[in-house]
Symmetry: C2
Subunit: 161 residues, 2 copies
């Protein structure tokens, strides 16, 4: 397949949001996506963008994306977080995800980042096997914790009163 | 206890590194910390700092720290990641961790972040119970994946040859 991988531009954001929603459905959270095309445009472009984004494109269609940003490890130093690696369902198995993954890791390597991190669902064994085959570690002891916007609001209100 | 919580300054970094190493030992990874005081100073201060940091201080001693930075959720938008919340072992149980945690969540709330995320070891039930009591969720399905610097080097070398 003659797809190309390039940095995203603002006009890609509608296709990008479709892929984000496709992944949310795959992860059994179809209603979790509240972000909009305008959010993606304003957060990802201009001064101090909140993320970087590669897209895989063929015939003006976005087949896949890799969205990432910087993190900081107090053990190792500057790190990259790969937030989303998504390939359209009908285009899986063609090496597109592999190529996007390589592109992010190449960016991290070239820019001297000390770690690349991401999260994966424990039942997504296809993805886990792929990551391990590239030399990544998947940890069983660590748990992801999150405070969502509503709980944050409740917690602060309770503490401040 | 009359400790105060304030933003960190560069001269705190030696004490901060001691606390980071104390946490690494608690997490059974005493040799995992390769970062230096100079790294923390250059990464955390000046233009585009890689992290923000609150310290709890009493009589010119740093009793605890909370280190955090921005992330990006493709579901919710701008988010905060709480990388480290550490209190000196001899000063635990005095509300210092609670106060630092509040301070980070207050920052997130005031600045309109849509989520606060962090990671916790599954055997650290004291921490997990505390987080849950504040309204946070601790997910069992998500796994943390990481590519360390050496594996990254190997992977890129293999792919590029």
């Amino acid at each position: 397949m003659n797809y190309s991988i390039r940095k995203a531009i603002e006009t890609d954001m509608s296709s990008v949001l479709n892929l984000i929603k496709e992944l949310a459905s795959f992860e059994n959270e179809p209603n979790a996506v509240v972000i909009t095309v305008e959010d993606l445009k304003s957060h990802g472009f201009g001064k101090n963008p909140a993320f970087k984004l590669y897209v895989a494109e063929l015939d003006n269609e976005i087949l896949g994306i890799a969205l990432f940003y910087e993190r900081y490890s107090t053990w190792k130093g500057k790190a990259i977080h790969l937030e989303d690696l998504i390939v359209q369902e009908k285009h899986r198995g063609k090496g597109i995800g592999n190529a996007l993954y390589y592109k992010v890791l190449k960016y991290a390597h070239q820019n001297n980042f000390k770690r690349v991190a991401w999260e994966v669902l424990d039942w997504n064994t296809t993805a886990i096997d792929f990551y391990k085959s590239t030399g990544a570690k998947v940890f069983s002891e660590w748990r992801v914790a999150q405070m969502d916007e509503k709980s944050l609001e409740n917690y602060i209100e309770t503490k401040d009163n």
